[in-house]
């Protein structure tokens, strides 16, 4: 058996700082091809920089409009992970339609902020699609739909036609929550 198939620790339940479900509804999307560098240390992402003049983009939502998920995809001779992000775009302008048409042709990397709680600084930001990227596999807008307010419903997902992500979404952490947040926000215009 490969050395990397041997687990190295158990898990405890932190009674003082229990895990909190949910995410901040701000989704940060990056064009995968515009990532210049990725700095990794001890399995974490420490920093991501973009090519000159390029920025990431924030898609704001509310309540439960952002739903990230990932799951193991086992196969006989390999394993991989499907990363996916379901989100709403509450902007139906022509400019946004043109933007989403471009997104449908591209490949995205997403930064998601988990609910933060004390003692959880190093588990807040996760990067989805960092190695393979995610593509739009569903995009609908139902004008009369009350639940979505007629917004765009979008599903970004690891493509089925290519290799899966080799890892779960990577945690982005450097020093503490505040430092990491500055680095994440630096991606935005």
């Amino acid at each position: 058996m490969a050395f990397c198939a041997l687990i190295t620790q158990g898990a405890t339940y932190d009674c003082d700082n229990p895990i909190v479900p949910g995410v901040n509804t701000r989704l940060i999307l990056i064009n995968k091809d515009e990532i210049a560098t990725v700095t990794r240390a001890s399995g974490y992402v420490e920093d991501i920089t973009l090519a000159a003049t390029k920025t990431a983009f924030a898609f704001e939502g509310y309540r439960q409009s952002l739903n990230p998920e990932y799951r193991l995809v086992p196969a006989a001779l390999s394993i991989g992970y499907d990363h996916q992000i379901k989100f709403q775009v509450f902007d139906i302008s022509q400019e946004q339609k043109a933007n989403l048409e471009k997104m449908a042709l591209g490949r995205m990397v997403a930064v998601v902020e988990n609910m933060n709680n004390e003692g959880n600084d190093d588990n807040v930001f996760e990067v989805y699609g960092l190695d393979v990227g995610m593509e739009i596999t569903e995009m609908t807008r139902i004008a009369r739909d009350l639940e979505t307010q007629g917004s765009f419903s979008i599903l970004l997902k690891t493509p089925d036609e290519e290799g899966k992500e080799p890892k779960m979404p990577v945690t982005w952490f450097d020093t503490d929550y505040a430092t990491t947040k500055v680095l994440v926000d630096a991606l935005l215009p």
Partner: protein, 51 residues
């Protein structure tokens, strides 16, 4: 595992074991390579102290 910096634009991965002459080739355009000189991170970053 030490620090790894992927320069995706160039298709290059720089580690703490990369020869200095290779690092020097990229360090002007990618100042984050200076982090490689700050020593290895062997373990998970420490969590903040609990009150």
């Amino acid at each position: 595992m030490g620090r790894i910096i992927e320069i995706r634009e160039k298709g290059v991965v720089i580690t703490e074991a990369t020869p200095q002459n290779i690092v020097d080739k990229y360090i002007k355009d990618y100042p984050q390579l200076n982090k490689l000189k700050n020593g290895k991170k062997e373990s998970k970053p420490a969590k903040p102290d609990k009150p």
